[in-house]
Assembly symmetry: C2
Homo-oligomer: 410 residues x 2
């Protein structure tokens, strides 16, 4: 894409009330725009990152054999009353309102109340189990304070997976499989997400969170560097590791995913049952598994930046190569156009800065936007243009041949 | 995909309160599930159709040079007060509510109040114009009656494009370009959408709607079959064509898109201006262009079905080929698996019915789901299996070689 046609340019400053690192950088670099606290518009660059993250997650979910569906955001009150969550925690976290005819609605912040009655219609026998469905969809939460940019939105994007099982053993097996898929997905997003024990529910004493350690995380976790095990502060009773006794480190972290064994909590409420091999009616067991693409985008911004701007991992970058044409000399223009054609022709996503701006402005914008590979064409570079990889302030230099070879494998 | 793993099977009956043809068929065939009046879940088959429609539209928008963004669904009250639409028509059509701290929100049913303040930040000079942004996003409307399935949802999917111009001539030129793109998009979806004059606004005396004629449409249009011109009943003063005097036909139709010249209605409210060539401050001119992917899906279901079920155009079908294995004879199984491998290997989307059901049940399901090509493997067909195209009750027979050649061009 030619940068002169890109909607959403870089800015000197983020809005004054924006205190989070991720939102400040993402706004200044032209990835998102703030509509109101915790509510953002994704500009073209930001939407490309969000979509890349969603597609990484989608692939892992499909590889698990889960089927993608799309549930609504607008929920009638009735199913939420059946589980008792309309009033608690509904009154605290859910946007609730009435429409014409005094019909009561709430905005979905999770979807057990929708997915369980749906699934109940299709499950009759143990032969219909196990299976899993997921969606990638926007959710809403009435956050009293929304000061952390994409880390705590009033509107946010979620992937939520729900699995259905005949017995605990099968649920346990699937839970382990999901953990592997989560590991792969976070890895592909460039995040080290620590599997962290957290409080569970009625069915299971523990759930697991995926926590990314950063200085601005809102969660606190205790890490044993000997056992490589982590617990959310909420369940920590001692600063020493319960397994080896080592003193643990307290770290700030961002929760980018969580997985729960729900057991029969929801199948009981909706009477979602199946007939077992003996023809006896049994409650379906459930698991639920969340992962937040918009929060992941915020976490990546928190982790991957330096003083000059963002530094996207290739897998989620809005473009793979930032091609900078410095000056408007005919030979430079021609060479830049040739590179643009060659790279895009090879299927590589290129942002081509052909704008009539100074070299200083172009470099500053490029540093701020943080596209992983940079190719500068100027009178000085002549034929010897080199691709540079933006992984550190001292950018790694790659020769042209090396670079093209490498990029064609991205 | 193997049909035994598909979530959402066919049903004998739709919910009793579902009176619309599209919802009744889509629910019975396992494309959608009804959560509440006007609120649906897209099951895997339905989500595939919706995604195909969105991608057809996305391509046309990108070809126009418009940039994709994603605005929120949760809107603060303030910008809606600036345009006066918080109270009118807000109180009638918008879900409005309060969150913590007494903050007032509404759910977006259109996005002029979000896009205009956004764009204002990036437009300074006439050199920044024209440009256009669009989104594909879920919207909400407090419909008093929502009895038409996907044709009138309380939650529905929309593509909304907004264009920004320095003068009327440029807006007019772009409006014409959008009309061409709309024609291509509807055409690719398999719909004949009539360009229909409708009432305009303060800026322009007329807007245009895209209307699909069907017996269950909620709109009434007057068509002159001589001039091939159409008007919405709301602006019709005479049953004769104003151009040639021919008696016009009154037809029921579904509105699947509408386009508007907004002029300065919103740039005035938000003071969105640019400096012209003479350095004078001018109001930006705007156009807005809507198209509803979920409503298009409903309209296709209304148009493309017969007594036995749905009949999807290839371009939006959930799968291209329905492969039916009849019986569990080893030779049949082997041949069916070979076909499945060959077709999917050629990049063709196949739903493979390998379930242990009778031929009658499989044919009935296949008729109801309406995948355009069908390939039946049974003992009887032996090596002579033939692809059939489901465009009419008498399915068109295609030989194996012809079929594969044809499909590889789909």
């Amino acid at each position: 894409m030619r940068q002169s046609t890109l909607f959403g340019s870089t800015r000197k400053k983020a809005p004054k009330d924006e205190v989070s690192v991720n939102a400040e950088l993402l706004i200044r670099a032209g990835f998102i725009d703030k509509v109101s606290a915790g509510i953002y518009t994704y500009l073209p660059l930001g939407l490309r990152v969000l979509t890349a993250i969603q597609n990484i997650i989608r692939k892992e979910m499909n590889d698990l054999g889960a089927m993608e569906i799309r549930m609504p955001a607008l929920h009638p009150k009735e199913p939420w009353e059946k589980t008792g969550r309309w009033s608690k925690p509904g009154k605290e976290v859910m946007f609730q309102f009435k429409g014409h005819g005094d019909r009561a609605y709430g905005l979905g912040w999770t979807h057990e109340e929708i997915v369980t009655p749906l699934v109940k219609q299709y499950v009759n026998s143990y032969r219909d189990l196990p299976f899993a469905v997921y969606q990638i969809q926007d959710k809403f939460r009435d956050e009293p304070r929304a000061k952390s940019g994409l880390l705590r939105g009033r509107e946010f994007n979620m992937k939520d997976l729900y699995s259905f099982h005949a017995d605990e053993e099968d649920l346990e097996r699937y839970y382990e499989k999901v953990m592997q898929a989560y590991g792969l997905a976070f890895d592909r997003c460039g995040l080290v997400a620590l599997v962290t024990e957290a409080s569970g529910g009625a069915f299971s004493p523990r759930s697991h969170e995926y926590q990314v350690v950063t200085p601005h995380g809102e969660d606190l976790i205790f890490s044993c560097h000997h056992c490589n095990k982590h617990q959310n502060k909420e369940i920590v009773t001692d600063t020493h590791c319960p397994e080896c006794g080592t003193e643990r480190e307290e770290q700030k972290a961002i929760e980018v995913g969580n997985i729960f064994k729900l057991g029969t909590r929801f199948s009981e409420a909706f009477h979602a049952t199946y007939q077992d091999r003996e023809g006896k009616e049994q409650l379906v067991l459930m698991g639920c598994y969340g992962m937040g693409p918009s929060r992941i985008m915020g976490a990546i911004a928190e982790v991957y930046h330096d003083d000059t701007g963002l530094m996207w991992p290739v897998s989620v970058a809005p473009f793979t190569v930032h091609l900078l044409q410095l000056g408007t000399d005919d030979a430079v223009k021609k060479q830049a156009e040739e590179w643009y054609g060659a790279l895009t022709g090879a299927g590589i996503a290129v942002l081509f800065d052909e704008r009539d701006l100074s070299a200083g402005e172009k470099f500053a914008d490029s540093d701020l936007i943080g596209i992983p590979y940079r190719l500068v064409i100027s009178k000085k570079t002549g034929e010897g243009a080199e691709l540079k990889l933006r992984t550190s302030p001292d950018m790694q230099v790659i020769t042209r041949t090396e670079g093209l070879k490498r990029l064609s494998h991205v």
